[in-house]
């Protein structure tokens, strides 16, 4: 029998990962207008940084998350200024930018593979399990959901009330007009690449704490995250929140349905991809407007 409440909690957990990882992706696509596939490896890198800092900092997960945020943010900014900015200045086509991002992803993924090896690893931290009624929930899950919630609130405040947040929205909406009004585009882009990748790293640490680490883990997440971003509408933060919840629900209820129908749970991801394809065909703008 499907326990509705358990599935709802699982959906919230999945949704918080997609939300955290999707924020950076949706904002960078909105600003730079190309799909950055190397985001997958930034998530992976975040998870492995978490592993490294957990081992050196006596297993304090908060410290590990913050350090992973800064390291990955830095890697992202460096990759932008070393690879994508020069390519954009050369007026490279969209497809070439995507190929470059995949190539950069290779560099990161195989570097991770070289440093930490290709076998599956785990965090050593043990999470306490709480049982509320029939629902099983770990302290990690509570932390994930809370973090996603707080980040969403902060971002809402940031995007609507601060000058920087308004600048981000202005550039996403009309880059030329934004430059004319005196917004420093480079500064805004650097900030978004830094913080977006940092949040992706946080998602990576959470994912690794919840399941396992492997150099392919980011790649396994990137398509559902693209699905979330596109369903929410590129650059649309509120759409992203709703889309993360929808994709989380579809994935987890999908698994329950597949089990009930006697189909392979392999189709879990196929369901998400079918939503992605359907959205792109029926309503490429996503939930926006």
């Amino acid at each position: 029998m499907i326990d509705i409440w358990q599935v709802l909690v699982n959906s919230l957990v999945t949704a918080s990962i997609y939300l955290l990882a999707g924020i950076g992706l949706t904002l960078t696509i909105a600003l730079s207008r190309f799909a950055n596939f190397s985001y997958a490896e930034l998530i992976t890198l975040g998870a492995y940084c978490g592993l490294f800092f957990l081992a050196t900092k006596d297993g304090n997960i908060f410290l590990a998350i913050i350090l992973a945020f800064f390291v990955v943010g830095l890697v992202s900014v460096v990759s932008y200024s070393a690879v994508f900015k020069p390519l954009e200045e050369r007026k490279t086509s969209l497809i070439h930018l995507m190929v470059a991002s995949i190539a950069l992803g290779f560099v990161l993924r195989y570097s991770i593979g070289e440093i930490w090896g290709w076998s599956v690893l785990f965090y050593q931290t043990v999470w306490t399990v709480h049982t509320i009624g029939s629902v099983r929930i770990t302290s990690l899950w509570i932390m994930m959901i809370l973090t996603a919630f707080i980040v969403a609130l902060c971002l809402h405040y940031f995007l609507t009330r601060t000058k920087m947040g308004k600048a981000i929205r202005a550039i996403a909406c009309n880059p030329a007009l934004a430059s004319i009004t005196g917004i420093n585009k480079q500064k805004v882009i650097f900030l978004v690449w830094f913080c977006g990748a940092g949040l992706a790293a946080v998602a990576g640490v959470f994912r690794a704490a919840d399941t396992r680490l492997s150099p392919m883990m980011g790649w396994e997440l990137i398509l559902p995250i693209f699905a979330t971003v596109i369903l929410g509408g590129i650059g649309n933060f509120y759409g992203l929140i709703v889309a993360a919840l929808i994709i989380g629900l579809v994935e987890n209820f999908g698994v329950a349905m597949l089990l009930k129908l006697g189909l392979s749970t392999e189709y879990r991801m196929a369901l998400v991809f079918l939503i992605l394809i359907a959205v792109l065909i029926i309503r490429p703008k996503g939930l926006a407007r």
Binding site: A35, V83, P86, T92, F106, V107, G113, E114, I230, F273
Partner: protein, 312 residues
């Protein structure tokens, strides 16, 4: 492994990947469609060939069948996908490739699931030695490669090929001249898919065993690497790119097996490839071979006419 067999194995893989690279060249190099789901058609061709052969269909019919099913898949996929912007097209094709792989993995009754399918070899009951079978495979794959090469060289030099090129440059202009770009794009997609399907059939026939793990998105990216390295919209470029990447692949595998290195050459190879692709895109985006200007035959006429009029 025996050296000659190893060499022939390399040659077969080179041919298969060169065919894939040329098929991507039709789609991306000539028509400007960023297909990031190449592996889906490779998979479709391989599984069609394997299943058809197991059902008792003769192997040459199975080859044709795998091209046909891949072309149909390409056609179906292009119906919705080609109306999208190019970055969305990339994500959709990538996702469709994954959906197809998940399908193959899940539907055990048809495809053997994760346990794969064992494919009977065409050359099995001819009583040939191991070397002779390997040589026959080399002949078969290089024969197909040359046929595909000649066909595509012919195709891209016809007026039809020039329509494809003009769609890449400006599809509104093509529309203004009364051609339907969507129709041409779909056809280019189907041609590319059919050729990738043939490559898949060759792969299945050579490997004699296929499973879903052979068709990871990595295959697609390898083909892209080959094409970007060799040069887009140039058939020689597509082939040479495939040969170079395959040589590097083999080199790193040999280095891994026979040299005692402090690092894994396989990892280093992909890191180097990544760096190489980024450098290429920065400093030589057209690859090793540049696109050739169109040969229409009209130019020669014009020159003849000009020289004859100037002597008068």
């Amino acid at each position: 492994m025996d050296f000659t067999v190893y060499l022939m194995d390399t040659l077969v893989f080179m041919a298969i990947f060169a065919i894939l690279s040329m098929s991507l060249n039709v789609e991306y190099g000539y028509t400007g469609l960023g297909n990031f789901g190449k592996v889906a058609f490779f998979l479709c061709g391989a599984y069609t060939y394997a299943i058809a052969l197991l059902l008792g269909v003769p192997f040459y019919v199975s080859f044709v069948l795998s091209a046909v099913t891949s072309a149909i898949l390409g056609g179906l996929m292009s119906l919705p996908a080609l109306r999208l912007r190019e970055d969305y097209l990339a994500i959709v094709t990538l996702a469709i490739g994954e959906v197809l792989r998940i399908f193959v993995k899940a539907e055990e009754w048809l495809t053997g699931g994760v346990w794969g399918i064992t494919v009977p070899s065409v050359f099995a009951n001819l009583g040939l030695s191991v070397d002779a079978v390997a040589f026959a495979n080399v002949l078969l794959s290089w024969g197909v490669l040359i046929a595909v090469f000649l066909f595509l060289r012919y195709l891209t030099n016809t007026p039809y090929g020039r329509v494809l090129l003009s769609i890449r440059e400006d599809d509104t202009a093509v529309q203004a001249l009364g051609k339907n770009p969507i129709l041409y794009k779909a056809q280019a997609f189907m041609i590319g898919s059919a050729i990738a399907g043939i490559a898949g059939a060759l792969f299945a026939q050579y490997m004699r065993f296929i499973d879903p793990y052979m068709f990871l998105p990595m295959v697609t990216f390898t083909v892209w690497m080959m094409l970007i390295l060799g040069g887009t919209a140039n058939h020689y470029g597509a082939v040479v790119g495939a040969l170079i990447v395959e040589i590097f692949n083999r080199g790193s595998r040999i280095a891994k097996d026979y040299l005692d290195l402090p690092f894994d050459p396989h990892n280093i190879q992909f890191i180097l490839f990544g760096v190489l692709i980024i450098l290429l895109l920065l400093y030589r985006p057209y690859g090793l071979f540049r696109e050739k200007p169109l040969k229409t035959g009209v130019e020669a006429e014009v020159i003849k006419w000009q020289s004859s009029s100037s002597t008068k």
